[in-house]
Amino acid sequence: MKNLVFVFIVCISLTACSGNKNKNEKSGSLRAEITAAGATFPQPFYNKVFNDYSTMTGNKLTYGGIGSGGGIRSLKDKVVDFGATDAFLTDEQAAELPAPVVHVPTCLGAVVIAFNLPGITELKMKNEVLASVFLGEIKKWNDPKILADNPGINLPGKDISVVYRSDGSGTTFIFSDYLSKISKSWADKVGTGKSLNWPVGMGAKGNPGVAGIIKQTEGTIGYIGSEYAFAQKIPCVLLQNQAGNFIAPSVESVSAAAQGDIPADTRVMVTNSADPDAYPISAFTWIILYKEQSYNGRKIDQARETVKFLQWLVGPDAQAIARKVDYAPLPEKAVQLANDILKSVTFEGEPLL
């Protein structure tokens, strides 16, 4: 696995080199080659900003969407400048790495609940109803528990078919983290993870697979990454948040989820946020890098350019791009924390920023 990841990184760097060669030779302003790999969830955002920043500065930046697990392994093997992950490292995971790492949140995403009922575009669900549906306890669309929140909507007596991700996914992790927080029986019976032992329903591969089945099949309900659902304009369920409000997923309501108290190291799941305007199934996505950047014979320029790029990434320009590609930008407080974290990154003990 270690070798595979390495070969992959080498490959993407090589492709990147051949692609940008002429441009950089002309401008002559090449300062650093920054390589990163990890989560697929923020990949459309990273691809865009990495590309923009490369053109802007003449640095060569490449990102490989090989999954969060791959991102952590690559950082561990020191074949990338930084990794990207949808789930923050637990203390045990962090201890397995050769040196201390810091987490930098880059944007927020959400998990939305999509459904297919002909003629119905708006549907509301309480927390416990959502959990019961995915546990298979509520079997029909016209169950009194669903009807109670949707007066005036003529729900059919069809069976509910649950659709979930058949592949391991950060989307599943965020969704199950939320369900475990709101439902004790979910936490006991199913739990939290990237792939689960689903009590009912059927699986499909990737966001497109789940969205495809839902679009094609009446009576289905499933969860999809917001970046995909927003881009495809898929109708979503309004969920009840902790404050009791029914909230539609949107860039604003997802950002609002991170307005509450965030620890200084930003390692927190912001699902089930207490903010009254927050969409409840929202989460950060992080970049992870070593706190001490002098390792493996890295040059100080390389380290400085890496940190500078990350500073730009959490800054207003890049965050505006995030919104354009359907991710929720970091709220002000999170940007402040991210900047503080970047300032704590050192090279031979000296801060880089």
Partner: protein, 291 residues
């Protein structure tokens, strides 16, 4: 003298090339088996070979990890056998049409080309066709509420293996000696009687081998099945319920898998290898026994 020496050396070179080529194939197969075995050791050690094969619990949740391959073995075998059963009347009738009733006519030629063409269609295209056309049809017929499951996958598999079964059957049926058939007719047999009393007994072993090869093909099919079977990691409750197959679970979960789960998936790969090997060996044995 010189000429014969030249022939001798070229013969030697050919021998070396052939030997090394076949050795390379052998090495590849051995390498595959070795890495499958090595990768599956952690899963077998954790659960025991017997329990891994016959347990139907598949729980990837961290801390509660339990892996059993039975739902996938069951799904693979059931979909493939069902596909074979559905495929048999269709492909047998087609091959009788091509190589007996309308032998060497233009229409038989066109039909046989079309059947061969079916083999060239990528499996993702079959999958998409199944997803957008076949599945809604099954829902409209009222066979199942959502259309995903064992039956739909078997149907698409049957269509996919028809060309393999048909081409082989064509060859074998057309190899039945004319003298035998003529003898049947001269005794006053009807065409149908000749088919069931002459052609079938003579070509039986070849036909069986052909269908077993088609079965081997169905066992390993991935993409089209993944799109239609529902990918539920449990033993299907009925023929119209969602399930999963060995190839499909590997394709779905390999990407993000690590640790014990990765090992369990590799072990499923090994089991699939074994099942396919058994089926192919059975085919060869039948051919040798009855041919």
């Amino acid at each position: 003298m010189i000429r014969s020496r030249e022939i001798f050396t070229s013969d030697k070179i050919a021998k070396v090339i052939l030997k090394s080529a076949s050795f390379l194939v052998l090495l590849l197969a051995a390498g595959i088996i070795f890495s499958l075995l090595k990768g599956s050791i952690p899963a077998f050690r954790e659960f025991g070979i017997f329990r891994f094969i016959f347990s139907s619990e598949w729980n990837p949740t961290e801390g509660k990890e339990v892996y059993g391959a039975f739902p996938f073995i069951f799904g693979t075998v059931v979909t493939s056998l069902l596909a074979l059963i559905i495929c048999f009347p269709l492909s047998f009738a087609t091959s009788l049409f091509i190589s007996e009733y309308f032998k060497k006519t233009k229409i038989a030629g066109i039909l046989s080309t079309l059947v061969d063409l079916l083999a060239g269609i990528p499996s993702i295209v079959y999958g998409l066709w199944g997803f957008y056309t076949l599945r809604p049809l099954i829902v409209d017929l009222g066979l199942s509420e959502q259309g995903y499951g064992i039956f739909t996958s078997s149907l698409i598999l049957a269509i996919m293996i028809i060309p393999y079964a048909t081409s082989l059957s064509n060859e074998i049926i057309s190899m039945v000696p004319n003298e035998l058939k003529e003898a049947g007719y001269s005794l006053g047999a009807t065409r149908l009687e000749v088919i069931f009393n002459v052609i079938l007994p003579v070509s039986r072993s070849g036909l069986v081998a052909g269908y077993i090869l088609a079965l081997g093909r169905a066992l390993g099919e991935t993409m089209a099945v993944t799109m239609l079977i529902g990918n539920a990691n449990l033993i299907p409750k009925g023929i119209f319920s969602p399930g999963n197959t060995m190839a499909s679970v590997i394709a779905n979960q390999f990407g993000e898998a690590d640790g014990l789960k990765l090992s369990a998936l590799i072990a499923i790969g090994l089991l699939l290898f074994v099942v396919t090997a058994i089926v192919n060996a059975a085919g060869k044995w039948i051919v040798r026994r009855y041919a």
